[in-house]
Symmetry: D2
Subunit: 337 residues, 4 copies
Amino acid sequence: MIIIMENSATDEQIRQVYERLIDQGFDIHRSTGSTHTVLGVVGKTDLVDIRDYEIHDGVHEVIRISEPYKLASRTFHPTDTIIKVGKAEIGSNTIVLMAGPCAIESREQIRRISKELKGTSTSILRGGAYKPRTSPYSFQGLGEDGLKFMREAADENGLKVVSEVMDRMDIIPALKYVDIIQVGARNMQNFALLKELGKVDKPILLKRGMSATLKELLMSAEYIMAGGNHNVILCERGIRTFETYTRNTFDISAIPVLKELTHLPVIADPSHGIGIRNKVAPLARASVAAGADGLIIEVHYDPDHAASDGAQTLFMEQYDKLVKELKIIATAVDRTI
Amino acid sequence: MIIIMENSATDEQIRQVYERLIDQGFDIHRSTGSTHTVLGVVGKTDLVDIRDYEIHDGVHEVIRISEPYKLASRTFHPTDTIIKVGKAEIGSNTIVLMAGPCAIESREQIRRISKELKGTSTSILRGGAYKPRTSPYSFQGLGEDGLKFMREAADENGLKVVSEVMDRMDIIPALKYVDIIQVGARNMQNFALLKELGKVDKPILLKRGMSATLKELLMSAEYIMAGGNHNVILCERGIRTFETYTRNTFDISAIPVLKELTHLPVIADPSHGIGIRNKVAPLARASVAAGADGLIIEVHYDPDHAASDGAQTLFMEQYDKLVKELKIIATAVDRTI
Amino acid sequence: MIIIMENSATDEQIRQVYERLIDQGFDIHRSTGSTHTVLGVVGKTDLVDIRDYEIHDGVHEVIRISEPYKLASRTFHPTDTIIKVGKAEIGSNTIVLMAGPCAIESREQIRRISKELKGTSTSILRGGAYKPRTSPYSFQGLGEDGLKFMREAADENGLKVVSEVMDRMDIIPALKYVDIIQVGARNMQNFALLKELGKVDKPILLKRGMSATLKELLMSAEYIMAGGNHNVILCERGIRTFETYTRNTFDISAIPVLKELTHLPVIADPSHGIGIRNKVAPLARASVAAGADGLIIEVHYDPDHAASDGAQTLFMEQYDKLVKELKIIATAVDRTI
Amino acid sequence: MIIIMENSATDEQIRQVYERLIDQGFDIHRSTGSTHTVLGVVGKTDLVDIRDYEIHDGVHEVIRISEPYKLASRTFHPTDTIIKVGKAEIGSNTIVLMAGPCAIESREQIRRISKELKGTSTSILRGGAYKPRTSPYSFQGLGEDGLKFMREAADENGLKVVSEVMDRMDIIPALKYVDIIQVGARNMQNFALLKELGKVDKPILLKRGMSATLKELLMSAEYIMAGGNHNVILCERGIRTFETYTRNTFDISAIPVLKELTHLPVIADPSHGIGIRNKVAPLARASVAAGADGLIIEVHYDPDHAASDGAQTLFMEQYDKLVKELKIIATAVDRTI
């Protein structure tokens, strides 16, 4: 941490900052420049609320040098983390495709979708059993039954399973049926949930919150990792801006930026990222072109009658065509699908 | 719900929309204008994802007429809801003050603050026992012990208690010690928590999420109310924008807008709304001038050594001065404190 | 400017940064801390694009210490600037009211409004002659004729005049008829216009751009001041966020923050800030409670037939009532109206 | 335009809305549904401020059916507009590359860059002569001299020229030297400038404002087109959000959305879109994958000593490598470069 004093800071003001720093157990390296006195602060400064020093008289600015996340940072772990789920290696040179319906609607539905995904280079089946719905009156998902149906459907077709939990109490059933546990955008800062997932022996797919900065996303990954679970997959799914034509603004820059800041795999969710079926493919292609390690896409044999999010769900034929395009784009970035 | 067809929509396109509407059990009122055909849709359209119709060929726009929230809407409940907590009547003509530290740090701390609040027109003591912290390495609160200390401190001084829960599992201890249960901004869409709070017999103070629209805030209130608990207090606490000088952008307009849309009481949290101590008072004054039913403010006898959020916490003297100013402003809007 | 090197920065990397700094003519104060080497850079660093150093290998972060605005900064000019326009002293202890129609529609209209403002404590008449309209097909204003009508109407009633220019070429007529020249939100970064206004001997009312940070607003003021015109009045008028219920999100915090950063007067435009007639008054009251030096408000004797912005324009009676409320609130902040 | 009355609207309230509509010369088609009365309004409703009706008692909502832009809309002009500039056909199946320095610095600099662009499939040379700079103290460009140098450099190498004007008065020199006139993000709503460009016989490259919606961008195109100049190229260059890691948030969705709403060509500016050199390539690739008709990219033989924006400027070798990747991606979307 570095504290830059005002040009006009008095000795007394500097002394008071010193005192507080010493109180908190820090070592101080003072550098008296020609215009500003700069205090380099050494010690465990990660937990300091820098505003505590900023409001001191005579302080110009306080800069936190070290990122508040450690386990997620590429600085301390330069090589890419690769997470193996069945044959899929998320974070490797091979881009991983996850696909399936928004919600599991019935045993038949998920079996049919799972079967149709065969031969599409998809390795992970997605589908929601616990659905976070804005309205209390909307379909809330099949719960544990849904998970059972999905497990069965995936096993029949050699797929692995990713599904969302909404609350600490959903973790127990998820552990029985699911290969990757998803944390939705609305729960990215449900810290009680994140802590609990830190104790779990399954990879976590963590979605960026609707208005979360990339640093906050990494802090939420850190919560899980601090508990002992280092297998976290980050997912960009669109942020909230003033633009109303699209449901969200997909932050394509998040992909190269996160790949630089962290060693964790980064995937994209173009379905939620834009929310309109005929624009999912351009976003999916863009994500691969920008360096995503994988995609999670909503597909259904009959999206027009899907129980939720049908408007952003691809027909199987659209998905097939998209995968072919993605394979070409992957070569442009020296990768395979 | 109203569906406006394109100027150029064919009969076949209109027929397909009809068919889907009939499938979903709706009645249709067709109006063929000189340029556009308009379909008025009657029935339980609240749960329709309007995008499902928007993507139909020939559809120009779909408008949801009825708000998706009912219990929270002023349309169906024109008179103000007044929530009584001890002597305080939240939502009445008397503006209610809630104050206290960010976090309960010790038995002594909360007792001293509680005592110093006597005679300041404050009726509710605030303080956190379960703290949602961005970093897993930060102080996480005293938990149930904190709640005990706060209850005791409040009782000694004739105050009531508001405190936050972060998870369904925190509700049980909260019920023992707390008069108003707070849901923090990060949990505004923790639907599992909201559902559970719908079954509780205590008022809920629901904070607006960092990037939540006012409609989403009302939908979250609806979640609680749909479970049977109609005592919800809404709280504006700042939203996220591109401005970086302040921690959040306090949306002052939310106060008069919410007062129009809903019968529920609306309070303001200027401390989190701006995050800088010497600017809390201007925001608190502005909130009363804009029509807030109450304020929740962070105060401490020694904010510089507070365990969290000290930089936005008022000294007791600052709070005293502020309350005097608020009393004058209240008269300008025909209210009392 | 301060450059913080990475923990892992090599001597060669530090040398390269040094070289570039010396190339650009800066003096360097090096401080080798236990973890990070910090370079204090002395010289005219204001114009450095800090990204130029940030992309150097081994650089962790670059911090610009001095604000890039000087003339507008309170650091170099601690006392409040008071701008006299007729009897009004903008920035003084007396809050200044500016009111009038969105657009000047006719000689009769502006005369009638001007007359009705008598006795309302309003000292400045507002009204647009050059209208920035989103659509090329909308009413574009009366131009110079409008300015003549407004001047006459103001003179008859002892008022001064504020009106907007949209382009360098509008300045010449404005100089003939107007007392305060307004720069609209869409032109806040029309640098050609700002430069020209720096040469003018009239106060400038500079509105914050729809997505401008406070720093950018101050930089635009600096453009005007750098040309020699130090009489700049800043105006908060709402920023763009994801909230759609209101036209803009009025950033109430901007008022106390600007008052701290700059010595220039700060006024509020609640009419554009919210865009809905029955919510202008709460915002106006909030602005005074938060410390605004003045208000600019749209009023009309017949807002329902106003040529533009009628929906956010107050009836004269509403304005009268508002002014009475404002006078009470002013006393709470030790000011008068 | 459609006006939906409240469920509870009285006959008198409906009558008043009728009266106003008739006053304004509209025809009305009334449809009395079982719950809501709906008024279909026929006539030139484009210029109505819908808020004027929204504030009427008894009105629930007002919907503008027709887009306020006509000339820019794909509805009225279904086939793609292709703009020919030399051999480049912007908006055709061939993706057009525009490249060059941020600012023209000298005759030698622009000649060298122009020469190095030979053989890179680039057809348009970019470079700024009038620079919109946030600070009045920054390098403001070479002005007309710069344009002369660029024209000469382009002619020597078979390139065409795009350059920015900042003000109506810059148009005259631009007409002499430039093939495409650029309007920068800060001037997207400089309506005086847009009107003047409507009279010009050169294509206009119109950049999206930092906080402009796509509809506003199209309205600004409409301003130019309404004046008679139908050759407008739209350019996405990043919008402002709360994310601070990147300079702007590049809105990748804008590309497919604009291609649907309008027949005008849509290009991307990844350099300004992200502002960090080593992330320009991922964004450029993503833009082509998402369907962009062209790219405008900052390149320099010595970006570290560029007069402006060096941090986001590519080295020539980086640009060469990027073009090769783009050619592969173009095949995935059935296009060529």
